[in-house]
Each structure stands twice: as structure tokens, then as C-alpha cells.
Symmetry: C2
Subunit: 362 residues, 2 copies
């Protein structure tokens, strides 16, 4: 940790790799010898072409996407994707399945329903406050897609394996675990992720779509709400969120340079999460909120014996330079978000703090 920097356990916007921030800072007045800030260069320039093409290429390399896939950058966050997906893929008489594993899945379902699209919620873990990932997931014959949220930031769960759908493409909100592990891309038709957890600053959503899936999309839609508009123009039908795309490219470069592959990134994430879950499981003081087989590697959610102790935990941690440990306002408790950029140093600092806090207050 650099002097003055805290250990940042925010759920999103979240910690970014320090080398990436330092690189942005160093070149902020003069990007790539252009004599301009990255925030001042034209998106129609060769400077920016190189930026966006680099980000796309690195995403392709890490996810092993061949040219049957588009890699797009769209504004509006995952929340706009909740609306665009049914808008683009559910025409008259078509239907899709949704699996409800928490707050964000519920919102995705709502945005399809607002548009009066025909969808089925084929599985849900609402019966136990979304503390687990459902196993038995039936599919509706002829469904256009099955929508899932791969990692549930608020409830601290994730799909460790992805559902068998009998060939129906998965459409997945990966906002909180994109690039944290390798993916069986052959199962997916579309994946999307708001940048602000694992990728970059808020304001950019990365979307990858299989080309043959895109070809089945509705066409009679406003330009900015059609995936085909972005696919046809390398995400530059209008001015894209340049600073966000630039940062995402740097973050992907950092993953490649530091870890090489998503297999190695995943191993590091498993190691970090295990350290915190071991503290929780070895204690009678902390209590994990997610079922063990459904635990997220990105968002470690836990409770303390009382709400007073939870408040004290969050406040004392902040005094020791650890921020963002309060649980989501909708569920309470504590949460340590440890995305790709969370360092081992941060995780070890939290482990030590948890141990000493338990000793002093347990």
C-alpha cells in the first residue's frame, strides 16, 4: 500500500490496480505523446483507435474469444442491459428463462416485465434470502436464452458451475466477476459487465455477443438501444466513454502482465477468498451468510454477533486503513469485496484485523 492509500474493500466502484492508476496519472496531461489528455483526444483519431482496439484484443485473448464474437462497450451500466437484452432478443411470441439469485437478477426480470415480454423465472433462491445458487434448473423448450447473474455482489454467492441448458444460450450479467476466472464461452450467447467492479471506472459496460446470436436480434429499435449499432461501428456509432475504455484496456493489460491467464487470475482469487473464509469458518464470532457451496470469491459476506459489533467492526477497520466493509444497505452485515485488483497485502491486513477484533470483542 502506497502512503495515504487505504485497503479498499468497496463493492463497486472498487479498487483498481495501483500500477494502472499510476500510469493514468503519469500520462494524464499528455497521452502517448499526443500533447493532449486521454480525456481530450478525438475518438476518431488513430490514438483512440489504438486504445479501443487494444482493449478489445486483450479481452479476446483473456476470454479466448474468436471472431465469432463481438466485444462491445456500451454506456448505461448493467441496468441498461437489463432492458436492452429483452428489447433486442424477445420479439413477438418469443420467450426467455430467468434464474433469480438476488437483487440484480430481480431487477433484470423486472425490466423484461416492464416491456411486457414473456419470460419465466425457472429457478430462484428467494426462499432462503438468496443465500445459495439453485441446482435444479429446468429450461423452457424454445426459450431464446437463459439469463443468469454469475456472481451476486450483495448476497455473496456465485455460480461455481454454469447451468446445463441443452443448447439454449446463457445470457449472463458478469458485472462482479468478469475476468476473475476462465469461462466456458461455448455456453454463452451474450455476457455483460458494468466496469466498476472488476474492469475500470463506472460508466462503461463491456458486452460480448456471439455473432450468430446477434443475427437473430430485433432490428426496429432506436439506434443506441440496438447491439447491431455498436457491432457495426466498433462501439463508436457515437462518442464512446473513452476514458473508461482506456482504463479497461490498462486493467486487462495488467491482468496479462501480472497473471498471464484467467486460470492464474482465478487461482489468486481462490487463494484470497480462502484466507477470509477460513477466518470466518474457524471462528464462533463471524458467520458467513452464503451457503458454502455457493460462496462468492469476489464478495465475502458475513455477520457479527450483533449489529453494534458490526458497526464497530466497520469503524475500527477504517481507522486501521481498511475501507468499504459495510454490507449492502439492503442486507446489512459486513462485506469484503476482493475483486481481481484486491492485493494479497490487503487481504492479509483484513485477516489480521478480523482475528484481533474477535479477540478483543468476542
Amino acid at each position: 500500500m502506497t502512503a495515504q492509500r487505504i485497503h479498499n474493500f468497496n463493492a463497486g466502484p472498487a479498487a483498481l490496480p495501483l500500477p494502472v492508476l499510476e500510469k493514468i496519472q503519469a500520462s494524464f496531461l499528455n497521452f502517448n505523446d499526443s500533447g493532449m489528455s486521454i480525456t481530450e483526444i478525438s475518438h476518431r483519431s488513430s490514438h483512440f483507435d489504438a486504445v479501443i482496439n487494444d482493449a478489445v484484443e486483450r479481452a479476446r485473448q483473456l476470454l479466448k474469444l474468436d471472431d465469432t464474437w463481438h466485444v462491445l462497450f456500451i454506456q448505461g451500466g448493467a441496468s441498461l442491459q437489463f432492458a436492452m437484452i429483452p428489447m433486442n432478443f424477445l420479439g413477438q411470441g418469443q420467450t426467455a428463462d430467468y434464474i433469480n439469485t438476488g437483487t440484480w437478477s430481480t431487477k433484470a426480470i423486472k425490466e423484461a416485465q416492464i416491456q411486457k415480454k414473456t419470460i419465466q423465472v425457472t429457478a430462484s433462491s428467494e426462499d432462503k434470502n438468496f443465500s445459495y445458487i439453485p441446482e435444479a434448473i429446468p429450461c423452457t423448450p424454445g426459450a431464446r436464452y437463459v439469463h443468469i447473474t454469475t456472481n451476486n455482489t450483495i448476497k455473496g454467492t456465485r455460480f461455481a458451475q454454469f447451468p446445463e441448458t441443452g443448447g439454449i444460450p446463457l445470457v449472463a450479467d458478469m458485472s462482479s466477476d468478469i475476468f476473475s476466472r476462465p469461462l466456458p464461452m461455448e455456453k454463452f450467447g451474450l455476457i455483460y459487465a458494468g466496469a466498476q467492479k472488476n474492469l475500470g471506472p463506472s460508466g462503461t459496460c463491456m458486452v460480448s455477443i456471439k455473432k450468430d446470436f446477434l443475427e437473430t436480434a430485433e432490428d426496429d429499435l432506436p439506434s443506441m438501444l440496438k447491439y447491431s449499432t455498436y457491432a457495426a461501428k466498433n462501439s463508436m456509432y457515437n462518442t464512446p466513454p473513452c476514458f473508461g475504455i482506456y482504463t479497461i484496456g490498462l486493467v486487462l493489460k495488467w491482468i496479462q502482465e501480472q497473471f498471464g491467464t484467467l486460470e492464474k487470475m482465478a487461482a489468486f482469487n481462490e487463494q484470497k477468498a480462502a484466507i477470509l473464509y477460513d477466518v470466518i469458518d474457524g471462528s464462533g464470532f463471524y458467520r458467513g451468510t452464503a451457503r458454502k457451496d455457493s460462496r462468492s470469491l469476489m464478495n465475502v459476506t458475513f455477520r457479527l454477533p450483533t449489529e453494534e459489533l458490526e458497526k464497530k467492526f466497520v469503524a475500527d477497520a477504517l481507522k486501521k486503513g481498511m475501507g468499504g466493509l459495510k454490507g449492502h444497505r439492503s442486507v446489512g452485515g459486513c462485506r469484503a469485496s476482493i475483486y481481481n485488483a484486491a492485493t494479497m497485502e490487503s487481504v492479509m491486513a483484513l485477516k489480521e484485523f478480523m482475528t484481533s477484533f474477535e479477540k478483543e470483542n468476542g
Copy 2:
């Protein structure tokens, strides 16, 4: 000009005030003693509340907006506004007028038509390649709004005065001249501006809506496509484009500290534009493309005797540290974009270059 920085005449993304860039750079690893970058702080934190409230308040002060107005930040650029405006304000049986003054107006019209909304193009300057602003502008009785583009970046024209509409609210795309001059806000129902010309980095669109106008909007729309969603949550229904909003706040602060009011900002802009138009008008070499009474103060568009000379002009200027002078790819020629952040030093450098280039090549 700081060493290594160029005089940036880009049309957008465009020059930002150097003191703003320096401030962002200096605090990029530790925003406001948070121990985090502005790109890493939670939008639900008191840190970010202060950022967004400051930006909103400064926009209100400069535009003299009382609490009958919302000030919102929305992603997707002006292009998404082209779709959202008819979506929100044209219900069954309702109609609106559009004035067509160039590329962006044409796109706004197209996005209403894609949605099969009933609109009329009541005035257009297409007959003369959009080189002027139409004077006689009839209004359709009962129209919900009259849409205009206040400044036409590509054609180099602007509405010097705003149309009389007999009380029908103007809805205005101000992407390229927002905060460049005072506005008679009583004429408007909604104004919007993509940030990347006069406000900040690309990826954020500022939208101000009169509350009573918003109350007439359609409700049965996807959450992210309804203005009321943003109005109800201070633009934070989902994670907003935090870095963009932060930068916009700094730019507005810079206007207030450097100029005080939009009247003074406008005077500076008039002074800068006059310097370049005087070179053009005093020359038999350069030829302005916009009718004099319709000339933009933000985008000075001009031709040289031949396309070869235009290419040489742009290339020679770049060698002398002046960038972004190529006209829009759809019209050719040359264009100097001199938004609020363009310095007098940059304008004087361009004036001198234009004069010497004419001497050498005229």
C-alpha cells in the same frame, strides 16, 4: 501552453481547462483524503454525494435554475437523448416539431421516426447544406415540444436567438455550446448536452428538465430510459459515470472562478471567435462556410482554395503544435473548435499561423 501540450482545436472530445486536468492528476491516487482514486470511491459514499451535489449546484448557479428544474446526469450521450425524448414525451396521439439545422438534428428526427412517433419538421436549412439557421419557424398547435440543436458542430452554425414558440417548450441539444452563453431558460422544457465538448470527458450527458414538463412524461418505460428514474434518485438509480460527473463539477468551478458568469464566459467566447472570423473575412484565401448571421462561436468552419491546401494547412498546423483542425469527415474543409476551454493563447497562435500560411500559400 505547458511544455508538450498542443493547442487543441478538436471538435469533441475537446480541450479541457488545464487547471482542471492538473487538479485531477494531482489527486488521482487519493481523492479528497479518502485514500482512494476518484475512480475507486463508492457512489453511495459521502465523498461522492459531495461531488455530485457540487456539480448540480454549480450548474444551477451558472444557468440560474431554480428548484423548478432537475439537473441530471445520464449515460449514452446526446444520441441516447434523441431516443429518450420522444419515448418520454410523445404518447399516443401526441406530436412534436423538429427544426433541422444539420447532422445532429437529422439524427434526432430519425430516432423519433424509428419509434413511429408523430413529428413534423417545421423548418430546415437543408436547401443550402445547413449553412444557416432558418428564420421563419412555424409551430404546430398542440405540439408537445419544439426540438432544436442550438449549435451545429459540423456545419459551424448556431441559433443566435431562440425561436418564438408561443409557449411550446423548446427541447434543445446543447452538446456543443452548453455553458458558453447565458440562456433564456423560460423558453425551455429540457436541455441536454453530451459532456465531451464543453463540459468534461465523453460518457456523461447533462440533462436539465423543468419539473412540470417532466410530470407530463410517459411512465411505462424501462427504468434507465425514463427521466423520472434519474430525477427520483439524484442521477444515482444505478452507478453513475462518477469520473465524468466529478470532472464536470471541476469544469463548472473553473468557469465560476475564471469568468464568474455566463455573460462573461460569452464575452470571452465572442472575442475569441471574432479574432478567427476577422482573419477569414479579411482574406481572399479563407472562406467561411456558414452565413454570417448564423455563425457559431464554438466551431469556426472554413475552406481554403483547394483540398490540397486544406490538407497542407492541417498538417503544417500540427507541426506547429495546433491539432484538430480538420473539418468533419462528412463535410471536409477546416474547422477550429474553440469551446470555453480554448485559451486566448491558442486562438492567437492559430490566427498567426493562418496569416502566415496565407502569405506563404496564397
